[in-house]
């Protein structure tokens, strides 16, 4: 962990510099588009990890924040005629507000119940979008096309870069991250140390939702078309889970790496091996299953042998009641 803290930012700095000058060198708009999307997934994965990896709450409805951001921007731009720059923060804000409202009750749930409640909530939001007028229902919404690849590349890069920096500061430097981890490890015990889990979880949930909503907004403007199945479906949530678990939970670099590799794998397969499209599903599925068996700590955790890997908790909760005097 020490090593990632000191060397990580340096490597990251070089990476960012490279990414910043890239569009000046590469003019292939397809490559830029792929990179733009890859960066977006990194952003989604790290934002997801705030609540999942650091706080220990697996949010299966993460995609809802993305969709809410996308829809907010589409509605503000197309129906209220707001310019993009004015609408964009509103996308993040809307996601944050939903996180706040939804978080108060859901964050009381634990483990699988939280996972499934958030998933049910995201499904309900999707159904809502299908059933109200102002979202266009199943027809979705179209935004005025502004197809400038460099613009979206830089916008995505800056957004995700800033998100990364802010999260990195809050989670790895400031007390906040350590407090979240305390909650992940033992919420009841954390209370005795003066931590207010309800408040901290709320903050984490909102912190996870905000950038996700903004990314959803950028996505909407970039792709120019959104509908309930593509922005409010399971896609974002599912991918985020897979990327984060594959990369390694509870860090920022792990999910980023996971997002990058999985997205690269998908894209290469998709672009250059498209004759084997169904094989792709089989391979992706097998890859996920096998990686879980062989790198249970995620790629980052395995590569960098993190000591702080959450160890196996024996029989959860049950034994605690029966065996008040726990031994080893």
């Amino acid at each position: 962990m020490k090593t990632t803290n000191s060397r990580g930012p340096a490597i990251l700095g070089i990476l960012v510099a490279a990414l910043l000058i890239l569009p000046l060198v590469v003019h292939d708009t397809f490559v830029l588009r792929v990179l733009t999307e890859g960066i977006m997934w990194i952003g989604l994965a790290i934002a997801f990890d705030v609540i999942a990896g650091y706080t220990g709450y697996l949010n299966f409805g993460h995609g809802a924040f993305f969709g809410i951001g996308a829809y907010t921007i589409a509605i503000l731009m197309m129906q209220a005629n707001l310019p993009f720059w004015a609408a964009l923060p509103a996308g993040g804000l809307a996601a944050g507000v939903v996180a706040l409202i939804a978080g108060i009750p859901t964050l009381r749930l634990k483990g699988a119940y939280f996972a499934i409640a958030t998933w049910a909530l995201s499904r309900a939001i999707q159904q809502l979008a299908l059933n109200v007028e102002f979202t266009g229902g199943p027809d979705g919404m179209r935004l005025n096309a502004f197809l400038n690849p460099q613009f979206f590349y830089y916008l995505m890069l800056i957004t995700v870069g800033l998100t990364f920096l802010i999260l990195w500061y809050l989670l790895e430097r400031a007390p906040f991250g350590l407090k979240l981890k305390a909650i992940r490890e033992d919420e009841e015990g954390a209370k005795a140390l003066g931590l207010n889990p309800t408040k901290l979880k709320m903050q984490a949930f909102i912190l996870s939702a905000l950038p996700t909503g903004i990314l959803g907004g950028i996505y909407a403007y970039w792709i120019t078309f959104i509908d309930p199945s593509s922005t409010l479906g399971d896609l974002v949530s599912d991918q985020a889970v897979v990327m984060v678990v594959f990369g390694g939970m509870g860090t920022l670099f792990g999910p980023a790496l996971g997002a990058l590799l999985i997205f690269a794998f998908k894209t290469i397969f998709w672009a250059y091996l498209s004759d084997f499209q169904l094989l792709y599903l089989i391979i992706l599925g097998a890859l996920i299953a096998v990686s879980v068996i062989f790198i249970p700590n995620g790629l980052w955790g395995t590569l960098f042998k993190r000591k702080a890997a959450p160890p196996r908790r024996e029989e959860p909760a049950l034994t605690a009641v029966v065996a008040p005097e726990e031994g080893n």
Partner: protein, 236 residues
């Protein structure tokens, strides 16, 4: 012949070696105790004996046949059982169900009604609480269930891992009474305890462990007299 014969076993937890070439033996009908500081490896030894964790080296023989590497359910099938640290009851099951799971093995299944009666006569408290779920019992009662559950298996060797831990003094006496009773009835007993005073009093023979190694052995009286043991394990 020794009933239980342990030769040079080692156990690792990942990169950490917890046991280093441990050897000892237990005779039939004996009450043998194992004492040692926290983290010395006592629990690890017990777990290795009954197959809950794998051994890296060495061998364990029971009644002359090798049981090293057998999975736990096969080991207990041979007649060895463990009353684990922290009791490890089945929390949502009633007292009686917990006891009946003890008679899961074929060997014990046939005579379970009979054994149950016997256990209720040893621990009348449990009969009173037979329909209460295990998680709502007090610590001492839970310990009784754990012992009763092990007895339901009709074992020949019964191993205890810190049975007095966290019990009120009156319950500690109770538990030691039961252990001695079982010993008198002819059961072979292997006892791990932190309550060294009491343990040395009841044990026929005793091993001392430190940092994953056996560092001393002798009868209870011998060890109690041993100055270094007194200093290290009896305190005050």
């Amino acid at each position: 012949m020794n009933l239980l014969d342990v030769q040079d076993i080692s156990v690792n937890y990942g990169d950490i070696q917890a046991l280093w070439n441990i050897s000892f033996s237990v005779n039939k009908g004996q009450l043998v105790a194992l004492i040692g500081a926290n983290g010395a490896g006592k629990t690890t030894t017990l777990k290795a004996l009954c197959g809950l964790i794998p051994t890296a080296a060495g061998s364990i023989h029971y009644q002359g046949s090798r049981i090293t590497g057998l999975p736990v359910h096969k080991v207990v099938d041979q007649g060895i059982t463990l009353v684990p640290e922290g009791r490890q009851l089945f929390p949502k099951m009633t007292v009686e169900e917990n006891l009946l799971v003890g008679a899961y093995l074929k060997r014990a299944h046939g005579k379970r009604a009979q054994t149950l009666k016997r256990i209720y006569s040893i621990f009348p408290r449990l009969e009173e609480r037979r329909t209460q779920t295990a998680e709502t019992l007090s610590g001492g009662e839970q310990q009784m269930v754990a012992i009763g559950r092990a007895l339901m298996q009709d074992p020949q060797v019964i191993m205890f891992d810190e049975p007095s831990l966290g019990l009120a003094p009156i319950m500690v006496q109770e538990v030691f009474k039961v252990i001695q009773e079982l010993h008198r009835e002819g059961l072979t007993i292997f006892l791990v305890e932190q309550n060294v005073h009491q343990t040395l009093k009841v044990a026929d023979y005793c091993y001392v462990m430190e940092n994953g190694r056996i560092v001393g052995q002798g009868t209870g009286k011998d060890l109690e007299a041993d100055q270094s043991i007194r200093e290290a394990y009896l305190g005050f």
